[in-house]
Amino acid sequence: MAAEQKQKTIKVDPDLDFIRQVNAAGGDTLKKCFQCATCSVVCNLTPDNRPFPRKEMIWASWGLKDKLVKDPDVWLCHQCNDCSVKCPRGAKPGDTLAAIRNYLFKNLTFPRFLGTWMSEPKYLPLVFGVPIILLLAALSAAGTIGKIPEGEIEFSKFLPHGGLYAVFISSTHLAALFLLVSLVRFWKMLGASDVSSAVGNSRGATAGDLRASVIATVKEILTHAKFGKCDESKHRYLGHLGIMYGFLSIAIGTGIAFFMMYGLRIEPPFGQFTPPKILGHLGIIALVIGLILVIRHRLSGDEKVSKSTYQDWYLLVVLLTVAVTGELVELVRFAGIAWLAYWGYIVHLVFVFALLGYFPYSKFAHIFYRFVAILHSKYTGRDAGVADLAA
């Protein structure tokens, strides 16, 4: 009974800067929350024990950054917005949790200035300036600036593979290294979180078994099982599925291309009916359809339910541009317009860099943080209670 509840004094030390940053990152409605807990009930993804997002709302409101940084639940949320639709106050828990994730993209990975670059449009000149300068440097090293190569269009004649790799392999590998470090740190923080150590977690089938947890996590992501449980945002199931499989298809195609080039010593360009090309084209179709579904819904979406942030648009627009420029460059190459093909290729590469060069600091990183958080929830048995209730 309420009157008999043990009275504990909790000293709250609010991180005001954190509150301001979450506000700016899309959480400007969070202060409307009056802790009625409707959100935790209508969420189809939350566990029974210490459910989200009601507790995240008060943590964010009180500026308890430390609790949120190590809270796996922020990442178990797929922003269905069922909570925001039913919220009696327009506090939009769905947007608030997205804003907290935006904050984490910005602040979790070393070096932090890159996170800052990705958080606001005013840094766009820097974001795009870096790949432009690097690629121009590579071109001038190859001596091809101002000189369109003669003969059959072959991109390595314009930008030799050495220059391409110098720009991309170094930047992406460095970014991956930084990401890996912060993912390890993230995993450790999750282990120490209040949520996972809470007594009374129902033990799931994969609890304590890392291998089984990884398999369950991969299966969940491949089937988009969580997205399927969303009521309000059912459309995102298909859209996100298209984007994910499109991207995977292109990535696998690229891997095979590397194998063909360096394992089998086949010189590019490859024929249209080789695996890299087939996977690439199919991937682009799936990716673009998925992106159109998602973008169309974000544009027509009800502001009352959810609003899109800069981070959302950055990822969507850059992805779409990568896909479209990639396909266009291919067409121009067939059309034989050399200057357009070569410079189009450079534009395409600038956007590829904008996508992959900064991946741990943009919303792109959700792939990895979410993977770790879902894995953690399987490993600790935290997600066992979800199925019970949803069933």
Binding site: A2, D48, P51, C87
Partner: protein
């Protein structure tokens, strides 16, 4: 003094009756218009007042006597104001009197009652039971006249009624009538209606048979109600041993009523006592966001906290489903302290639905009334002669409505005696 010293009071609930009686006792002529066939409004349908826990007939009896005995008051029941024209001090009002088909010239006898077999939903009891199409709205109804639902009758029944009414107790040819009166000021006391619980789609009202609303609970607990005061749940007529109250069912919710309805916390605390008193060893759980008991009413809350069979859970109920076998409602909430999702079966669930100003449903033609963003009436800002009293202005309990009515009379009198 204005050319016309009369005051029109629209609405015969506790606010309207109080206003009419106050104005008449101060020497004004009063016209009181009530839409229902009886006076008493929402209050007469309560089981008990909060916090004194006496039946509504207490205060109502005195007030009705004040109305009945005062020759300055003219009461029109089953009537609606169709139009108001003119200005402060000189309004012309058109009143439509709907046919009651019961004349009052002769008493309705057993022969009349025997002539009618058709039953209609009993709106006085929020449709929880049925009544003959010829009925007295309730035991203490004023005016003490029967009402006939002519449209529900079969042709044989109509014939039988005609045959039984040589003295003219029933007149099936009665038509609606229009009356024009001139008044100096108007008091709007049209009160409130409960928020339509069907619109709270996740709370199961209308789908789960044992989910009822707070106003229905008042009728279930009342001796004059459908169960003669026994607390019985709708599905099987059993006494509910485990009852949940869902606070803020629609209130404080942007998707429904953005404001606090101010009285539902007190209502549920009162109804928790009904359950505890009527059903032995019963258990009550009240789910709330905040318990809002103002002033001395807080003591009532503290007293309930002492009862080990009443628990208070902070956490709004956001989902109610039904067990198909037992028809028990299953309530889902997050218990905020300690932070745990809860899914629990109850025998019956009471939704504490909020207050909607009735003026929203039926605006009055001819006058531009100012309402606030929530639909509550704002007193004429530029010195007109139209004033609100009671729940038409804001959610109020009975005693505050009565005081508000007196205040409205003071304003109206300043117009008619100018």
């Amino acid at each position: 003094m204005s050319a016309n010293g009369k005051i029109l009071v629209i609405g015969g609930g506790i606010s309207g009756i109080s206003a009419a009686a106050d104005a008449a006792e101060l020497g004004c002529e009063v016209v009181l218009v009530e839409k229902e066939p009886y006076l008493g409004g929402r209050v007469i349908r309560m089981n008990q007042y909060f916090p004194k826990l006496c039946p509504p007939t207490c205060g109502m009896e005195i007030n009705v006597r004040r109305i009945r005995q005062n020759p300055r008051i003219k009461v029109y029941t089953l009537s609606e104001v169709e139009k108001i024209s003119g200005q402060a001090g000189d309004y012309t009002v058109t009143i439509r009197v709907n046919p009651r088909y019961v004349t009052g010239k002769q008493p309705v006898t057993q022969a009349h009652l025997d002539a009618v077999a058709t039953e209609v939903p009993n709106t006085f009891n929020y449709g929880m039971d049925k009544t003959k199409a010829l009925f007295l709205p309730h035991d203490a109804a004023y005016p003490p006249l029967y009402v006939l639902k002519k449209d529900a009758l079969t042709s044989e029944e109509s014939q039988r009624l005609k045959n039984a009414s040589p003295g003219g107790a029933i007149d099936l040819d009665m038509k609606d009538e229009r009356i024009e009166v001139k008044v100096g000021a108007v008091i709007i006391a049209t009160g409130w209606r409960p928020y339509d619980a069907v619109r709270l789609d996740n709370l199961g009202f209308g789908r789960c048979v044992n989910v009822i609303t707070n106003v229905m609970m008042e009728r279930l607990a009342a001796l004059s109600g459908p169960t003669a005061g026994k607390l019985l749940r709708p599905s099987d007529g059993k006494e509910p041993a485990k009852v949940a109250f869902v606070q803020c069912a629609g209130s404080r919710d942007e998707n429904h009523l953005p404001y606090c309805s101010a009285v539902c916390c007190m209502g549920s605390l009162k109804q928790a006592r009904y359950v505890r008193e009527k059903v032995a060893d019963s258990k009550v759980t009240i789910f709330y966001i905040d318990i809002r008991t103002i002033g001395r009413f807080e003591k009532f809350y503290y007293d309930l906290l002492e009862d080990p069979n009443i628990s208070f859970i902070k956490g709004k109920v956001a989902k109610i489903t039904e067990d198909p076998v037992t028809r028990n409602p299953i309530v889902e909430a997050e218990e905020v302290i300690p932070g745990k999702k809860l899914s629990e079966q109850f025998d019956m669930v009471v939704l504490a639905t909020g207050i909607v100003p009735s003026i929203m449903d039926s605006p009055i033609a001819g006058v531009n009334l100012t309402c606030d963003s929530d639909g509550f009436l704002v007193d004429s800002p530029n010195g007109g002669g139209i004033f609100g009293a009671g729940c038409v202005k804001r959610p109020l309990d009975v005693s505050r409505s009565v005081k508000d009515a007196t205040a409205a009379v003071m304003k109206a009198i300043q117009i008619v005696r100018r």
